[in-house]
C-alpha cells in the first residue's frame, strides 16, 4: 500500500495555500536496472484536491515529475478547520487519499 502524503494547508486573508508531498517512485520507464533491463514506467497520473468536498484542483502528471512529487497551489476561501483532501492515482491503478484540516 502506498505511503501517506504530507499535506499542509493554511488559510490567510481569504486565500488557502496548499502544499503536498506525495511518496512515489515516479519511474520514467527509461531507467535501466543493474542487469541492464528497462524498469517499466510507474508514475502518478492524476491528482485531485477537494475543499469540503468541492474540487479545487485537478492535475495530470507525466513521467517528468520528480520522485516524491511536490505540488503547491492556492484557492480563494477556506477557513481554519475546513477539510482539505488530496487524492492520487498512478499508472498501475494504485491510489491514495489523505485529508487534513486547514490550519
Amino acid at each position: 500500500m502506498a505511503d501517506p502524503m504530507k499535506i499542509r494547508a493554511s488559510a490567510k486573508e481569504g486565500i488557502t495555500e496548499v502544499k503536498v508531498l506525495m511518496s512515489h517512485e515516479m519511474e520514467t520507464g527509461q531507467r535501466k536496472d543493474s542487469s541492464g533491463n528497462l524498469v517499466p514506467a510507474h508514475f502518478i497520473t492524476e491528482v485531485s484536491a477537494e475543499h469540503n468536498g468541492k474540487q479545487v484542483l485537478a492535475a495530470q502528471f507525466g513521467t517528468a515529475i520528480s520522485k516524491n512529487p511536490y505540488l503547491a497551489f492556492k484557492f480563494k476561501g477556506g477557513a481554519k478547520g475546513d477539510k482539505l483532501a488530496v487524492s492520487w492515482v498512478d499508472s498501475k491503478g494504485d491510489k491514495r487519499t489523505d485529508e487534513v484540516l486547514i490550519g
Binding site: 486565500i15 520514467t28 527509461q30 497520473t45 492524476e46 491528482v47 485531485s48 477537494e50 468536498g53 468541492k54 474540487q55 479545487v56 484542483l57 485537478a58 492535475a59 495530470q60 502528471f61 507525466g62 513521467t63 517528468a64 515529475i65 520528480s66 520522485k67 512529487p69 511536490y70 505540488l71 503547491a72 497551489f73 492556492k74 484557492f75 480563494k76 476561501g77 483532501a85 487524492s87 492520487w88 492515482v89 491503478g93 491510489k95 487519499t97 489523505d98 485529508e99
Partner: protein
Amino acid sequence: MNVQRREALKAGGGLGLFGLLAAAGLITPEQARAEWNKSAFDAKTIEETLKGLGAGKPESSTEIQLTAPDIAENGAVVPVGVVSTLAGVEAIAILVEKNPNPLAASFTLPPGTEAFVQTRVKMGQTSDVYALVKVGGKFLMTKKEIKVTLGGCGG
C-alpha cells in the same frame, strides 16, 4: 478518511480518478475531467504536445511568469512554478522541450483557484521550459531556459 470514499476508491477499477470521485458523489459529473491525456503526454515534440492539449499556436504573454532558477544543481529535481496576473485562468501546463516527452504536468483550475502552481520536474539536459496558460478558451505561453549542471565527484 471517509469510509464510503475508501470503499469507492477500492471498487474503482478502470474508472479513472475523477470518474471515481464522481461515482462516489464527491464531485459533480461536470467536474469529472477527461481521462489522462495520453496523446499529449506521449507527444515527443512541443508542437505535437500543443496539438494534444488542443492549444494550437499559443501567443507569448508577459502576464505569465515562470518561477524557476536559471541553473539547476541537479536535473532530477528542478523546481518550477507558474503564476499569472490574468483573471479567469482555466488551465496551466508545464513543458520541457528537450525531455523525451515534453509535457510534464497539466493542471485544471476550477473557478476560485488562483493562477498559481508549483511543482518539481526532471530535466535530462539544459532546455527551454514552457509555461502554458489557458484563459477564456485561449492559450498563452512564456518560456525560459534552465541550465542543468553536473556534480563534481563523478557519479
